[in-house]
């Protein structure tokens, strides 16, 4: 069984041969590093899909290395739109700044009556492990590096619908610029998420909440004054 891994030092794929057996990609990477080639560089953590450390792209699709079973001939590459530090190890700091810009936290707490149904309402969104798979899958970054992006917007949404949030407007105000209106609703983030989160839906919900709170869709305003556009 062979595995092709993009090595940054040679800027091309290196092929490794593995024993034929069922194995997770993380296990295979570890095996290569500990027995064949100590220079192979990747990041790892819990092995159980919860620490968000080991996301990579396999054959162009984002996967958690610890949750992906290796297939013969797989090509493994680092996440997109993240500066590559070495091999599969990327710099996540810029991506994480989107959380700050979108102020994805509880702004002003108020005591609330939360029920089982309320819990369910944001259960999936709060399963986010910040693995950055959705950020890597989002095509908007190809043209707009400052886009707030899927994970930050999902998190902003999660707080905006929390009954304990008194200042929902405070959150919505911060997701207008480079935010909810710049998403193309292509749904790549939803396909990429290893935890079954649907950022596209969350962004659509944020749009409607934004409209309700007095914000308007800037792309529509542009269309009124310029050429008609049937984009997306």
């Amino acid at each position: 069984m062979t595995l092709n891994i993009l090595r940054s030092e040679i800027n091309s794929h290196q092929t490794y041969t593995l024993e034929e057996k069922e194995t997770t990609l993380l296990h295979a990477l570890s095996h290569i590093k500990t027995t064949h080639d100590a220079t192979l560089t990747f990041t790892e953590g819990c092995r159980a899909s919860v620490c968000g450390t080991c996301a990579v792209r396999v054959n162009g699709k984002e996967e958690l290395a610890c949750a992906y079973k290796v297939q013969d001939g797989d090509t493994v590459e680092p996440l997109n739109y993240h500066p590559v530090l070495r091999d599969l190890k990327v710099d996540k700091n810029k991506a994480k700044e989107t959380l700050v810009k979108s102020s994805a936290w509880l702004h002003d707490f108020q005591e609330a009556t939360l029920t089982h149904k309320d819990e369910k309402f944001t259960e999936t969104q709060t399963d986010c492990i910040l693995c950055n798979s959705c950020y890597s899958a989002c095509p908007v970054y190809a043209v707009m590096p400052d886009f707030l992006g899927p994970f930050a917007l999902t998190r902003a949404y999660r707080y905006s619908v929390d009954k304990r949030e008194e200042n929902v407007k405070g959150i919505l105000d911060n997701v207008q610029t480079n935010g909810v209106w710049d998403c193309t609703l292509c749904g790549e983030c939803t396909l990429a998420c290893p935890k079954g989160i649907d950022p596209k839906m969350d962004i659509m919900m944020l749009r409607s909440k934004s409209l309700q709170s007095g914000h308007s869709d800037p792309t529509l305003a542009q269309e009124n004054f310029g050429e008609p556009s049937f984009g997306f």
Partner: protein, 533 residues
């Protein structure tokens, strides 16, 4: 100079940083990965607090259960402090937005938080968020840190504490990205670097990075570490991958059965008792399985969605229809940095420790499920407050660069050192050695064998080293540095286990199956004396 340097960015570190920031301190949190990568994300079952939302409960009962599980090897005052602070810690977590699971009881605030049964608890006491409790607490803490503009320095690996005349003045780090060795000066330091159950490599639920870095740094800097022999084995990890299946699976009604399909133990006994019962089955040639089929698919997806997914992925088993093959593996380290009642490290002034790396003596010989998330959030807060008090009342002068130069030299030498012996192979060997000889059931013959092997490994370390000579992003180097901590501290685990000729909590010795309070109701402490300091 900053007021407080927090080393480690898991739940304990983030809580400490928030509390220090709250009282006005300048804080920097330094970690070897990113904040949300930490071990805290793996805590599943819950966080104990006697809220009494799901039946009668009291703080006294919580204290009582914790004391019982600790087997006399604890500090009663601190346990009281932790348990009685639990409801206010939950209240604080509620106020920052932790998405707890809820009851439909028409009440409000924390009175609606759902609570579940955990082993060794006399009531349904663990507040939870499905089976992602640690993950959801950790991420909410992180969001709150961003809100309060806590400064982070990621991907910096702790090398040494900077200590002059017994006073801690900062720490040195290896910047993983650049390879540069740096010193960060601070008026006080909080160590929150996690535990050491990761030493049981391949036989642990822990992440590979759970290598006791802060504990080893304290030992090297002249501070004390204690109760190292107490390592908790979690009864139910997946047999082939050692991945954790939460205790809540049993709390919700799961059974343990052997090959014959017979139950052999009350599944809700404390972890040490259940783990040993499983060990006995193994000795009799039986396999052991977790059976949660009777809970039904719907309930499983509701209560234990993560476990269902992990069983399918790593064991090719559908828990709604099949038995889950399990084995007990190392899960949590009770021992660690010896701290006093204000969480200051014994032997190092101005240095505090909190979370799994510290031995605050609240878990004693065996930790109760649900008490570790409680410890990091309650004591994390105290650590931040105490460190701030120290930083504002003591006149700490800036350290010179002696430690920095020493550490630079050490790293430089590693690059020059030949490495004919692959340390990764030694890491595997050590994990197995510890599991087989310093595991759930111990005896002095096996322990002495393990100590000899570890000593030989220690002597051989000059033949090990790094194969990768890259200056930047060298994870081979980090793995090696972690392994040196692993070897150093493994010898303390085994030595202390040899010295403790009795059985107490998680430490069980075949030839001394009883607790012996007369001789061993005390903590085994390690501390290096500096010659001619």
């Amino acid at each position: 100079m900053i007021d407080i340097l927090v080393i480690g960015s898991g739940g304990a570190g983030l809580t400490a940083a928030l509390s220090a920031k709250d009282v006005g301190a300048s804080v920097l949190v330094v970690g070897k990965a990113y904040p949300t990568n930490s071990q805290t994300s793996m805590a599943q079952g819950g966080m104990n607090a006697a809220l009494g939302n799901a039946g009668e409960d009291s703080i006294e009962a919580h204290i009582e259960d914790t004391l019982k599980s600790a087997h006399e090897l604890c500090d009663e005052e601190r346990i009281k402090r932790m348990c009685s602070s639990a409801p206010s810690a939950i209240k604080w977590l509620e106020s920052i937005g932790v998405p707890f699971s809820r009851l439909d009881n028409e009440k409000s605030g924390i009175d609606t938080i759902a609570q579940r049964q955990m082993g060794g608890a006399s009531a349904k006491r663990a507040c939870y968020a499905q089976d992602y409790t640690g993950l959801k607490i950790l991420h909410t803490l992180y969001d709150t840190c961003l809100k309060h503009k806590v400064d982070f320095l990621d991907e910096h690996y702790l090398l040494s504490l900077v200590v002059e005349n017994g006073i801690c003045k900062g720490a040195t780090f290896l910047d993983i990205r650049t390879g540069e060795v740096k010193q960060i000066n601070a008026k006080s330091v909080i160590i929150a670097t996690g535990g050491y159950a990761g030493f049981y490599h391949n036989y642990t639920t822990n992440m590979t990075g759970a290598t006791g870095d802060g504990i080893a740094a304290v030992l090297r800097a002249g501070g004390a570490v204690s109760d190292m022999e107490f390592v908790q084995f979690h009864p139910t990890a997946l047999k082939s991958s050692s991945i954790l299946i939460s205790e809540s699976a049993r709390g919700e009604g799961g059974y343990l059965v052997n090959t014959e399909g017979e139950r052999f133990i009350d599944e809700l006994k404390p972890r040490d008792v259940v783990a040993r019962a499983i060990y006995e089955q193994f000795q009799k040639g039986q396999e052991v399985f977790l059976d949660i089929r009777h809970l039904g698919e719907e309930k499983l997806m509701e209560l234990l969605p993560q476990e269902v997914e992990l069983c399918k992925l790593h064991e090719n088993v559908d828990p709604a229809k099949e038995l889950i093959p399990i084995k007990p593996v190392a899960h949590y380290s009770m021992g660690g940095i010896d701290v006093n009642s204000i969480l200051e490290v014994e032997g190092i002034q101005g240095c505090f420790a909190v979370g799994e790396c510290s031995n605050a003596k609240v878990h004693g010989a065996n930790r109760l499920g649900g008490n570790s998330l409680l410890e990091i959030t309650t004591f994390g807060k105290f650590a931040g407050e105490h460190a701030h008090r120290y930083a504002t009342t003591s006149n700490v002068t800036q350290a010179d660069d002696t430690q920095l130069q020493q550490d630079k030299q050490y790293i430089e030498n590693l690059y020059k050192q030949n490495a004919p012996l692959n340390f990764y192979g030694q890491r595997e060997k050590l994990g197995k050695l510890l599991y087989e000889n310093a595991g759930m059931v111990r005896n002095n013959k096996d322990l002495n064998y393990a100590l000899d092997e570890i000593t030989a490994m220690q002597q051989n370390i000059s033949h090990m080293g790094i194969e990768d000579k890259s200056m930047t992003n060298n994870t081979n180097l980090i793995d090696f540095l972690e392994f040196t901590n692993t070897i150093l501290l493994s010898s303390t685990i085994v030595s202390a286990a040899i010295a403790r000729d009795e059985s107490r909590g998680a430490h069980y010795k075949e030839e001394f199956p009883k607790q012996n309070d007369e001789k061993f109701k005390n903590h085994i402490v390690f501390q290096w004396k500096k010659e001619n300091a």
